[in-house]
């Protein structure tokens, strides 16, 4: 049969194409389907769709559910978020977030998420870092997992949504009225072009450019890099969140909820060292502050060292919480510690250190999730949702549990937007797509047959070492200059790659290579943006410019591709109610 031949490309037309199947991508699909029941929707995932990295979210989702009981308000949630962001977030977007977040918690309840409830059946909320009052709803410490499963299961009931499991996207095409994604079906190696009226990017962040990270192997920022190459601009990519408590040595996330429930951070001398860095919030200060505190403790010799991995760490102590709290509210943490390092947190303190966790920056989008170019004009028919879209609500530092609310709030907004964007696609557009697809097809064939010098794995390790060494919690001019130069070198080497696996069926060697090309592009962007921001703000902390500088730097970094280099510009931060003030906890 002709259609089964490997060299025959398929062209599949949809109204809405969603790249990425995390919480952002799936909520967009459900809402788009709900707003327009006739729209044909495609969800494309490079994994099995239910395995996206959103499943690893642990602690919870923020939203003001009970203003009276907790003496809470949307205004207070907004203030906490903006203060946490070190005043870099766009305040109109934050106000939108806090207004809609409670509704989204209820939405997920309606999909079947088993939120922890009290005896009367009221959804409970727990304290979280940087939040003034408890306002994080949770389902034990598997919140993201339960949200993902209920979304995936809900999508099974929608006849107009097609899921493409294990289809790896290699290029985004844009013509006058159409957008398309070039994909490789991993199982067969067949190429297809999925095209249509609107494209939503929901592929998550890119923390895997670092060596030790809490995120899944799949978080390589593919969608961001593809859109960046298709004309979109990047915003604030220098702000990479380092989660203070990643398990040593494998980097697996130990949720902030462990501290929310009352866990202590201890140094070598058994001292709760956070009193020296954030005396009022202690272990529940924002993540950037705690990460810096831990690194300072380690640098000043009050950390401990793991013999097998050579990593230095401090302790997260949960022993005083008791078995009941750990089993009921932190069961996964216990399971992970026992299974991966053979340590029971009920009996021993957990060794932790900061590791890359979340990328505050990403695709530059407006308040409705529409992707912008460097002149701040709309990139036609393109949206960004979830971690990969920088709206920007997290600014220079995200507060824990705000990310799940961001994914679901903008999932709904973008779902509505794209359901109104369905339009005819002319023959000229399809013809143009065919030409572009041919070119991409031959690029991939050339990559496969090339006899290059390096394998992707060597260069990937090199890149990760550079990022870990020069762009970690503390940064400075001299080191970053070295780092950028090294990244440039790796970028040059990446044109000279060889792929050992020449077959078509489940070629993960080719997939890894394409992923790496996306990673190195973003790593270089992070390097350039970080080098150029000459102040300390949120997660970007420079020892040579230790103070925040609102006069010169209260602005977003915007990057766009220019030839093989990068063009930098800056845009204003939107301030509605809260003027920048000193950030102290």
């Amino acid at each position: 049969m002709l259609i089964d031949r490997i060299d025959v490309m398929r062209f599949l037309k949809y109204d809405v194409i969603i790249l990425g199947s995390g919480i952002g991508g799936f909520t967009t699909a459900i809402h788009a389907s709900n707003f327009d029941k006739k729209a044909k929707i495609a969800v494309i995932s490079k994994l099995h769709a239910m395995r996206s990295h959103s499943v690893s979210a642990e602690g919870g989702i923020s939203g003001v559910l009970y203003p009276q009981i907790n003496k809470d308000s949307e205004k207070l949630h907004a203030y906490d978020t903006i203060k946490g962001s070190d005043y870099l977030s766009d305040q109109d977007a934050v106000e939108l977030l806090v207004k809609n977040a409670p509704k989204e918690i209820v939405f997920f309840e309606h999909l079947g998420v088993p939120w922890n409830r009290n005896e009367k059946g009221i959804i409970q909320e727990r304290p979280f870092g940087g939040m003034s009052v408890p306002r994080t709803a949770f389902a034990a410490d598997k919140t993201g997992f339960f949200m993902m499963r209920s979304l995936y299961d809900q999508v099974q009931s929608l006849p107009n949504v097609d899921i493409f499991h294990e289809h790896f996207a290699t290029r985004i095409f844009r013509t006058k009225d159409a957008v398309g994604v070039f994909t490789i079906d991993l199982a067969t190696g067949k190429h297809s072009v999925v095209y249509g009226s609107s494209l939503v990017i929901g592929t998550g962040g890119f923390s895997r450019i670092y060596k030790i990270t809490t995120t899944a192997h799949s978080t390589t920022g593919d969608g961001i890099a593809l859109a960046y190459n298709a004309g979109a601009s990047l915003k604030d990519v220098e702000f990479v969140q380092f989660h203070p408590t990643a398990l040593v040595p494998n980097g697996i996330l130990i949720t902030e909820a462990a501290r929310g429930e009352g866990g202590y951070l201890l140094n070598k001398d058994n001292e709760r060292f956070m009193k020296r860095y954030a005396s009022s919030k202690m272990e529940l200060a924002p993540r950037d502050i705690i990460s810096r505190a831990i690194i300072t403790e380690i640098n000043e010799g009050r950390g401990m060292k793991d013999k097998d991995s050579g990593l230095e760490y401090v302790y997260l102590d949960l022993r005083h919480l008791g078995k009941e709290v750990i089993n009921k509210r932190l069961p996964m943490i216990k399971e992970i510690c026992i299974k991966t390092i053979g340590l029971n947190p009920e009996e021993e303190p957990i060794p932790v250190r900061p590791a890359a966790h979340f990328t505050m920056g990403g695709l530059n989008t407006d308040i409705n999730g529409r992707v912008l170019d460097i002149e701040l004009n709309h990139v036609s028919n393109l949206w960004g949702v979830g971690e990969c879209g920088c709206v920007s609500v997290h600014g220079a530092n995200r507060l824990g549990s705000n990310s799940l609310s961001q994914c679901s709030v903008w999932g709904r907004i973008v779902g509505k937007e794209v359901s109104n964007n369905t339009h005819e696609i002319k023959n000229e557009d399809v013809k143009e797509l065919e030409v572009l697809a041919e070119a991409e097809d031959s690029r991939l064939k050339e990559m496969l047959s090339k006899k290059g010098m390096y394998t992707v794995y060597e260069l990937q390790d090199e890149m990760k070492d550079v990022m870990e060494k020069y762009f970690y919690v503390y940064r400075n001019e001299k080191e970053m200059k070295k780092g950028v130069a090294l990244l440039e070198k790796i970028l040059k080497k990446s044109a000279n790659l060889r792929i050992e696996d020449k077959t078509h069926i489940f070629n993960t060697n080719l997939r890894d290579t394409l992923e790496f090309l996306n990673q190195i592009e973003l790593a270089y962007a992070v390097g350039v943006a970080a080098y150029n921001r000459k102040e300390s703000r949120g997660a970007h902390s420079r020892t040579d410019h230790p103070k925040r500088d609102d006069k010169a730097w209260l602005k977003h970094t915007i990057l766009a591709k220019e030839g093989s280099g990068i063009k930098i510009s800056y845009s204003d931060v939107k301030i509605t109610k809260w003027e920048p003030e000193e950030r102290k906890y």
Binding site: D308, E335, G342
Partner: protein, 317 residues
């Protein structure tokens, strides 16, 4: 010389009669296996089918030979090194093959770490699924030392025997390449049991502002079954799913139970849809699924409870 060949030689040397009996036997067995018919053949048919039968015997002995080749290869890795034997489907030769690799491990190293080490340094083409490496995404289900397990949650040193660990693909799913197996059928079965909350008022479900009522005691009825990560290991362990591809399998059935027991669910058709021999009555209560589940879900109990609720449901009508 192999025993089977020795016997063939023995019979042949007995003269014409035993040969005829032998050929009759071979051709009858061959006929029975391939055409499911019990026929005793004579004449030309007898000769044709005996030749086919003998060819089959020859092919099988050849396969045994390739297996000894693998064993010889294994002996080249020194016995004091840690090593992993990776079995799986080789897409080039279209055969199930095993290969052994020397690896570096410490007390923290998981089987997944080791496989990725092999992929990076020794065999770039090795196909294996992985993502979260913390036991929650469900990608890396495989058979480790003969037992279904998640590679990321299995500590290499703990499970190694004589410093060797064997990793093979799951058996109940068709194999795509190396350790990667096909999941389409598995996902289709999952979707076929209406695995989601069904509400009469869909608009309220999508946009409503008040949560549905549920007490913790009601949540606890389905909570243990909601931990399913869809890794496929329970179906792999299930003897019924392995022999009858039509059987819905423990994963899909346990998820049917999870939503059926949710006090917020208003479905009426879910139980009827699975009330069949290839559905919940296919379960023979071997219990292998519950033993295999890496997340402590107990599909076996879910299916027995489902059986009970369908009977109750039936009596009510």
């Amino acid at each position: 010389m192999r025993t089977s060949k020795y016997f063939a030689f023995f019979y042949l040397s007995m003269g014409f009669l035993p040969l005829l009996f032998f050929l009759l036997l071979v051709s009858t067995v061959y006929n029975y296996i391939y055409y499911k018919e019990l026929l005793v053949l004579t004449g030309v048919d007898l000769i044709v089918f005996s030749v086919l039968g003998l060819l089959e015997i020859y092919k099988r002995t050849e396969k045994i030979k390739t297996n000894t080749l693998v064993k010889n290869y294994i002996n080249t890795v020194k016995s004091n090194d840690y090593s992993i034997i990776v079995g799986g489907f080789d897409t080039k030769s279209k055969e199930i093959k095993q290969k052994q690799y020397k690896v570096n491990v410490n007390k923290y190293t998981s089987v997944l770490d080791v496989l990725l080490q092999v992929k990076k340094k020794q065999q770039n083409s090795l196909a294996v699924r992985y993502s979260c490496r913390m036991g929650i995404c469900g990608s890396c289900g495989m058979v480790i030392n003969g037992k279904p397990a998640l590679a990321c949650e299995t500590n290499f040193m703990k499970v190694s025997k004589d410093k060797v660990v064997t990793a093979e693909p799951m058996q109940a799913h068709p194999i795509v390449k190396d350790l990667v197996t096909e999941f389409k059928d598995f996902f289709d079965k999952h979707s076929s049991v209406e695995p989601h909350l069904i509400r009469e008022n869909v608009k309220e479900q999508m946009t409503g502002k008040t949560p549905y009522d549920q007490k913790p005691s009601e949540t606890n009825k389905f909570l243990p079954y909601s931990y399913c990560i869809m890794c496929g290991l329970c179906n792999d362990a299930c003897p019924v799913a392995n022999s009858n591809p039509e059987f819905l399998g423990p994963q899909a059935l346990s998820q049917a139970y999870r939503y059926q027991m949710d006090s917020r669910d208003q479905s009426e058709g879910r139980l009827t849809a699975i009330d069949k021999l290839t559905g919940l009555w296919g379960c023979e209560f071997a219990g292998a699924c519950s033993k295999a589940c890496p997340k402590g879900v107990d599909p076996a109990s879910a299916i027995q409870l489902l059986k009970l609720s369908t009977v109750e449901d039936d009596l009510k009508k």
